[in-house]
């Protein structure tokens, strides 16, 4: 194809290679290095003058490094007189961030790391255990804790979930400030006040977390991107943040084909959404296949309690199968998880767009097994599996995980093995969309039929 150049960032070289193989073109050569002071240095080896340039970079690994590298690459192509620059982001960075500290507590990672062998079938986030002295002001964690809890301290106490509904565990350490930067550096400077169960500080200001969607969109446009290709955006509204065309591809046809081809008696299976936000996505698949559908719903309520409530009592009603309780001195957050739909003796297929910490999906699997499900598949488009997620999945009730290579998966394959883990290839669908966009053909056909 004339004037088509596909360049790859350092986040996912193998995907770029397969895309180029599918397009039967040579991959454009880029040497990406770091200067000794850590700054990213780029050199595009071949001319891109008046060319149609596509840059493949996934939002995985060191997200910020990869994102800045992408911005520099776009800018470099632009200053080198490229005709059009299209950023291809199979996984869009910063597409899913908890919108409030509350949500961060549950969907973000409450990950106090536990020792590897302590991952349980139940997939309970590790807790420092009941032996830590009460009201200690310092954060204590176990020896190999490289991930302090980014639980945005709800009332100075961290989030934990009860192992079984009957077991009551009180979280008894408190940290003055929540510990930031769960991976890289330096928590010392973070200067945040303790908040109560409603996210309010003493002064009454409700602490909030900035949403980065618009910023990321604007940064890409500023760098010079003329067009964007991405896949299964967490929020479809994200497209509206851009003033440039965004092609949001779907992995649904891929997932559907997997179900039809590889799940025995797929007519009998139940498609399950692990949270209410993903219901639409899951029903779409269920409709397309013509099988039944179930939903797991998580509810969090803040209620004021004089004494820590008996968790056993609150969870004795039928639909509550797991309950997470966050206790603080004056306020109590009760989170209940319930299943809507019947899964007894059925094969369940959990469908989600993104698995990050894997708490949601492993808890969902546990709940399904508790409710009598026979076998649990998890079909996810973007298997990010950050932190210890992959080990958690390994020990969880999920029988098989199917994901795509929108982010590199070979390391995960080594942990889980091919019996438990399968990777679908998205390079063909991306390659076809690149071909169609380059030739000015319609892309919408890919939405329904895949490639």
């Amino acid at each position: 194809m004339r004037d088509l150049v596909v360049l790859g960032g350092s986040s996912h070289p193998s995907l770029t290679r397969t895309i180029c193989r599918n397009l039967t073109i040579e991959q454009g050569e880029v040497s990406s290095r770091k200067f000794s002071n850590g700054e990213t240095s780029l050199e595009i080896q071949d001319s891109v003058r008046e060319k149609d340039v596509f840059i493949v970079q996934s939002g995985c690994g060191d997200v910020n490094d990869n994102f800045i590298e992408l911005l520099i690459m776009i800018a470099a192509c632009k200053t080198a007189s490229a005709k059009r620059v299209t950023a291809v982001l199979p996984l869009f960075p910063y597409s899913r961030q908890p919108d409030s500290p509350h949500a961060a507590g549950l969907t973000g990672a409450p990950s106090i790391s536990t020792k590897k062998e302590q991952y349980t079938y139940e997939s309970v986030p590790g807790t420092p255990g009941p032996f830590v002295s009460k009201n200690s002001d310092t954060f204590t964690s176990d020896s190999d804790s490289h991930t302090p809890p980014p639980t945005l301290n709800l009332g100075g106490k961290s989030v934990f979930s009860g192992l079984k509904p009957q077991v009551e565990r009180t979280q008894s350490y408190s940290s003055k400030f929540f510990t930031p930067k769960s991976i890289v550096t330096n928590s010392a400077s973070t200067n945040l006040p303790p908040v109560d169960a409603y996210g309010k500080t003493e002064s009454g200001y409700k602490q909030w977390i900035a949403q980065n969607g618009t910023l990321i969109a604007n940064l890409l446009v500023t760098a010079g991107a003329d067009r964007l290709i991405t896949m299964d955006l967490h929020d479809p509204q994200f497209q509206g943040f851009f003033n440039i065309p965004v092609d949001n591809l779907y992995s649904r046809p891929l997932l559907k084909h997997y179900i039809l081809d590889y799940i025995p008696n797929y007519q009998e299976c139940v498609i399950v959404s692990p949270d209410s936000g993903g219901a639409k996505r899951a029903t779409a698949v269920a409709d397309a296949i013509g099988c039944s559908f179930a939903l797991i719903h998580k509810e969090r309520r803040a209620k004021v309690a004089k004494n820590p409530p008996s968790t056993a009592a609150s969870s004795s009603s039928v639909p509550m199968s797991a309950s997470n309780t966050i206790l603080s001195s004056s306020n109590t957050m009760v989170a209940t998880t319930m299943l809507v739909g019947d899964v007894r003796d059925k094969v369940c297929v959990l469908i989600d767009d993104l698995v990050d910490t894997s708490y949601t999906i492993t808890r969902a699997a546990k709940l399904l097994k508790d409710q009598g499900a026979k076998y649990v598949y998890a079909l996810v488009t973007h298997g990010v599996f950050s932190g210890d997620a992959i080990n958690r999945v390994n020990k969880s009730a999920i029988d098989k995980v199917i994901t795509t290579n929108s982010v590199p998966q070979s390391e995960r394959m080594k942990v889980l093995g091919s019996d438990k883990f399968e990777v679908l290839d998205v390079s063909r669908i991306l390659a076809e969309s690149i071909r169609r966009i380059h030739n000015g053909e319609s892309v919408s056909m890919l939405f329904d039929h895949g490639w």
């Binding site: 400077s189 200067n191 977390i209 990050d356």
Partner: protein, 323 residues
């Protein structure tokens, strides 16, 4: 109608907490309750725990960290954007060491002008003003459409020299031709001689051949540069100066990046000592390198913030050190 009075909100990024602390102490303010953290998937997020509505916001973040420099850039962008969303009246990025400042020109085919990109990104995020220090090339100010205050470490350097050396046998040396102007200005103000080392560079961060212009025999040489990265240049320059009969060689640089094995190189070099400002965190380097000394620039930054907030002239700081 005059604008209603507002106050300074000082926000510290995670790159240089010590400097943030010093500036806030100098200003007599505590840091605002805005903090950045990172999720396990390595995305950065910013929590805002205090209102910045209609306030004058200053965000201190320097470009540093061999592993984290891009993280800190994103962190700065996200904090700026968060303040913009939170309706701050004016957002000023205080970036003592401007990241990617050396990639300021298209020196090869298809080379990115990343400094320009950084300028654009900062403005896109919502930055209304930039305070920086000793930009590698002052033309970078022209990359911005918003005002940029490029402060100088020169007054602090001059004071250090006058306090620590005898002018009689002093000579100021520039380790490369690019720094000649900076060095000439300092030599003029001290009324001493200056010399120049010309180097031929083949690859970035690698130095090949060096030639000395000027007489340094029996002199105390002060090498002055804007940044010390791998320190290869400084160490080689010291060798050349001593070969040409210099008494001893001291290096003074604004930004002590000291990447990879720079401290080791300095320890093994013939440099008598190296003096840096604290525009970057140097605490771990201080432990590794006994030759290292640090000048505090927090007062200059704090005074610039105070003057900017009150609408006073900043140019006083180009020649003076605030007390």
């Amino acid at each position: 109608m005059p604008a209603t009075p507002n106050s300074i909100k000082l926000i510290g990024g995670n790159s240089h907490p010590e400097l943030c602390e010093k500036v806030s102490k100098k200003l007599g303010l505590s840091l605002a309750k805005v903090g950045a953290f990172q999720y396990t998937n390595k995305e950065t997020a910013v929590a805002v725990g205090e209102s910045v509505r209609d306030e004058d916001v200053y965000i201190i973040q320097t470009g540093c960290g061999e592993q984290d420099i891009n993280d800190f850039v994103m962190e700065l962008l996200i904090i700026i954007n968060a303040c913009k969303i939170a309706s701050a009246r004016r957002i000023t990025a205080v970036v003592p060491n401007f990241p990617y400042a050396r990639q300021d020109k298209k020196d090869k085919s298809r080379a990115p002008i990343t400094a320009k990109l950084m300028a654009n990104l900062l403005q896109t995020a919502g930055c209304n003003h930039v305070i920086t220090m000793d930009l590698h090339a002052s033309q970078i100010q022209g990359f911005f459409r918003v005002p940029v205050d490029n402060l100088y470490a020169e007054p602090s350097v001059l004071r250090y020299i006058t306090n620590n050396f005898d002018k009689k046998d002093l000579i100021i040396v520039s380790p490369d031709a690019g720094g000649a102007k900076r060095v000439a200005s300092i030599a003029d103000k001290l009324d001493v001689q200056f010399a120049l080392i010309h180097k031929e560079r083949q690859k970035a961060n690698e130095v090949s051949r060096m030639v000395l212009v000027g007489d340094v025999s029996d002199k105390v040489c002060i090498l002055i540069d804007d940044m010390a990265d791998t320190c290869g240049t400084l160490c080689k320059a010291a060798d050349i100066l001593l070969d040409n009969g210099a008494q001893k060689v001291v290096a003074m640089v604004t930004h002590g990046i000291m990447s990879s094995n720079a401290t080791e190189k300095l320890n093994n070099s013939k440099l008598d000592r190296i003096v840096c400002t604290n525009s970057l965190p140097l605490n771990d380097k201080l432990a590794q390198c006994p030759k290292l000394e640090v000048i505090d620039i927090a007062p200059t930054l704090a005074e610039a913030i105070r003057r900017l907030h009150n609408g006073e002239s900043v140019s006083y700081l180009f020649n003076n050190i605030p007390e």
